[in-house]
């Protein structure tokens, strides 16, 4: 088991990676990436059982699917720092001839990625399919997925939620990033999601909540609890409250940094708030 301090140090370094990646190409999505940094670091370094190397079929290990593909910077940084591909490759993000496309894809053969995502609302169905394959294969490992809260406005999610509840896909842990923001403003103004717990429970899910999705100890605890609730006949949802732009004071409490890169001065300020811990790429 990793020390919480070590996970926090890694999270700080991942935040630096995110900021430098989007700054370098003046594009990308830092807000949601920063908000999900603790979750992604905890998942890959404390929660999931992983095999060395990368095989597409993922037999004998836990799997993760990123449905809200626009937070690719945090996904890429966590994958690179886990050893899926060379750290230096983070410098190619969103550039021509790169495996690190704006949104994640299998198309360029990047290890660690098992599905393309970006067009929203598709990841839960894919995660369910992978979970069903694990059952057919007699593989007791789990499937994890991450979804934006605004993304739940896509109807395909509710087809998937109905299916997983109805058919008892209980080897799936789907986390909802409840940051309350989307491109056009707060989710409750754009198209209110209302209370997610009763909605998901009505569809037959086991629902857990994590009120502080940017507290590493709380995230680890929540994911461990979620993991312990699998295998009991119900899919497990973790509704995780996060702060978009977490760790950079001027990116928090607003939706302005959903899809905008910092300029040189803003980058310097943001990096000063997240001092180097494990070495920049």
């Amino acid at each position: 088991m990793a020390d919480i301090k070590d996970l926090e140090a890694l999270a700080t370094q991942v935040r630096r990676d995110i900021l430098r990646m989007v700054h370098a190409v003046n594009s990308g999505h830092p807000g949601g990436s920063l908000g999900c940094t603790e979750f992604m670091v905890a998942l890959y370094n404390e929660i999931m059982e992983l095999q060395p190397g990368f095989e597409m079929d993922g037999i004998g290990e836990d799997l993760f699917f990123l449905s809200n593909g626009h937070i690719s910077p945090v996904f890429y940084s966590v994958l690179a720092r886990k050893g899926y591909f060379p750290l230096e490759e983070l410098s190619t993000f969103r550039k021509i001839d790169s495996r690190l496309q704006g949104h994640p894809t299998t198309h360029e053969g990047l290890p660690g990625v098992r599905i393309a995502s970006g067009s929203l609302g598709q990841g839960m169905s894919v995660a369910i399919g992978a979970a069903l394959a694990k059952k057919l294969n007699g593989d007791s490992h789990l499937v994890y997925s991450l979804h934006g809260d605004g993304e739940l406005q896509e109807g395909q999610n509710w087809e998937a939620i109905m299916f997983a509840g109805s058919k008892g896909v209980d080897n799936l842990v789907a986390t909802i990033d409840r940051n309350g923001q989307q491109i056009d403003g707060p989710t409750e103004e754009v198209l209110a999601l209302g209370e997610l717990r009763p909605k998901l429970e009505a569809f037959g899910w086991e629902v857990l909540e994590c009120e502080n999705g940017n507290d590493m100890a709380a995230v680890v605890e929540a994911l461990k609890t979620a993991r312990s609730r699998t295998g009991k006949g119900k899919p497990v949802a973790l509704v995780m409250t996060t702060e978009m732009g977490n760790g950079v004071d001027f990116m928090m409490h607003t939706h302005a940094w959903h899809g905008k890169a910092p300029n040189d001065e803003q980058l310097a300020t943001a990096l000063a708030q997240n001092p180097e811990t494990l070495g920049d790429y």
Binding site: D57, H107, I115, G118, S125, I128, L132, A133, A160
Partner: protein, 318 residues
Amino acid sequence: MTRYTDQGKQDTRSGFGAGMTELGRTNPKVVTLCADLVGSLKIETFIAENPERFFQVGIAEANMMGIAAGLTIGGYIPFTSTFANFSTGRVYDQIRQSIAYSGKNVKICASHAGITLGEDGATHQILEDIGLMKMLPGMTVINPCDFNQTKAATLAVAEHQGPVYLRFGRPKVANFTPADQVFEIGKAVKLSEGNDVTIIATGHLVWEALKAAEALETQGISAEVINIHTIKPLDEKAILDSVAKTGCVVTAEEHNMLGGLGESVARTLATHHPAPQELVAVRDSFGESGTPEQLMAKYGLDNKAIETAVFKALKRKA
């Protein structure tokens, strides 16, 4: 000229069902998904014999496509099954991102394609699906012509690595290809030799093309009939070899003339060997309710329409 005889009318969807039954017995990696149309897709035997390898997803086609993509990740070969309309237009973005762009080994099996779906009318008669699917990079597009060929195609796509769109229909039509045929994806089948005109047909229109060729023969016109069961990748060599000999072409398909087989053939000819071409296809319109025979006649998709098109092509060649 080779004479093909009808071995007894059957629906192509039953050919799919027969293929699935065989795959269920021979390939443990094959799984099937259906969106509340089990009876229409004729997969009852597969389900009865392999209940653990069947997933009923309900009326939720987008979710079905995503689940299918996910199942490939664990090494399975998913066959999705519903009507052609709900297999393509309704779920285009799911197919594009989660299957085609992601390179997933999903077989999208689509029944009730085209206007011969009949009485249900235009809401269900998709005439744009070949175009939608052939535009997706890496997608193989197959439209077999009868029961035997649909069964053979179903078996063949299980062996093919990569996404496939397999299109077939509802009505009982002539079953005339040999039951023991070898189905080679991307390889055209020449059904008759001829010197005056090449008739290139796909799906239900192949039988109509053979009937037209017989009628033309009595009028002294020698037609070469080619069955293009695979629209993508297109067997360009078979087309160009034939047209080099005949000098003109009629294409025939149960699809909008925009985006279908005819346009793929026209592109091939324009690039390599320009020649007069007439298109037997739906003229950029929706369908309507009616019997399959009435609709084929009204929308200019039967053997008479092919004959008329041949005379036009011959005139332009001269």
